[in-house]
Symmetry: C2
Subunit: 222 residues, 2 copies
């Protein structure tokens, strides 16, 4: 394994361990030592990648919107929906994404700037909404930045409610319900009629992405 | 002061102190001792009211939806809006309400049942929506329970985003924006046209309630 590959792998090992520790203990109570022990790395290795606990937490926060290559859709509203439902699906299935979202909502993590994920998700949403607007998919009055903020904020609460009530079991249904309440105020009826917001959409988009990745890896290098 | 009044006052002193301690330290890290010291009460007095830290936390959780006598409105949609914007206003101005909401969203408070406030707020919302439905204010397809859940969940996230981004300064604007995105999917246009969702609605409802309470206290006992 090349030196660089090993470094990338160590970084991922640390982030995975940190995700577990933050999720169990909360940001404030978690210590660098607990992360080192769980990751099975030396203190030197950790500090090589992350100069402080805050930097490790930022690494975990940033993972939630990494590796998210949503397939291009002709309808940018559908692409926005797919981004949202895929995130919900990853929240149910990927501990790293879950830890990132929990840190974002951890109000005791006072020395951590938790606004980053909110701001970045809003930018992602706004960009897709602007494209949708440019191709005439949105109602005339829509302010894309305002709608992006509403979507990001309300999603954060919907996932929190689903976690508190039943540990995410009903998350796909709640997200689909949220979108069915918000999109009619934003999207023109003819586009709305052909957008897929069914509950299993997230799982299907996820499977599609895995399938693409597998075919990409299997392709001959030219 | 009657014995009972004193007991009620001590209970409130403990809850106020607990709200501060939970907000600063988080549920998991907070101790009964810190609450006793800040409240200036004896251990015996605290245990008389609350047998454990969990019970104190539940007391704080429950305060967020107490003392909330929303004035009766002819339009039940307006009454629902007023309930939401008043809660947002109290979240900005009342440390006890803020502590309750923070505890509700504290994912590290693992031995605490945090579903209560979500469930109760959904019931409050559902009840008002059912009344609105009975008097023909809602669109035909609306499931009141589903809409109540969407409102409660999305509100929780909107407030969390506002807290993370700017310590609640833009909360009234964000809540008004949320309602403008959701209500058109739920309420018939003629009712929607006369519902007040402007940003200062919460402050005005709050002032109205204070005014009523003052006049009530000033009224002669008959």
């Amino acid at each position: 394994m090349a030196k660089q590959d090993r470094a990338i792998r160590t970084r991922q090992t640390i982030l995975s361990a940190a995700a577990k520790v933050f999720e169990e203990r909360g940001y404030q109570a978690a210590t660098i030592n607990e992360i080192i022990v769980l990751a099975g790395v030396t203190k030197g290795a950790l500090y090589f990648h992350f100069p402080s606990k805050e930097h490790v937490a930022e690494g975990v926060l940033n993972e939630q919107d990494q590796n998210l290559p949503i397939p291009d859709r002709a309808s940018k509203v559908q692409q926005l929906v797919d981004t949202v439902v895929l995130h919900a699906h990853r929240l149910q299935t990927d501990p790293m994404v879950r830890a990132g979202v929990r840190l974002t909502l951890d109000q005791q993590a006072q020395d951590l700037d938790r606004s980053g994920p909110f701001v970045r998700w809003s930018e992602v949403g706004n960009e897709l909404l602007e494209k949708a607007q440019a191709q005439g998919e949105l109602l005339d009055h829509v302010s894309t930045a305002e709608t992006a903020d509403v979507l990001v904020g309300s999603f954060a609460g919907i996932q929190s409610m689903s976690q508190a009530v039943c540990e995410y079991q009903d998350l796909p249904g709640r997200v689909s319900s949220l979108l069915r309440h918000i999109l009619p105020s934003v999207v023109i009826p003819s586009v709305l009629a052909s957008v897929d917001i069914t509950e299993d959409r997230g799982a299907r988009v996820h499977a599609e992405l895995l399938d693409r990745a597998a075919r990409h890896e299997a392709a001959p290098v030219s």
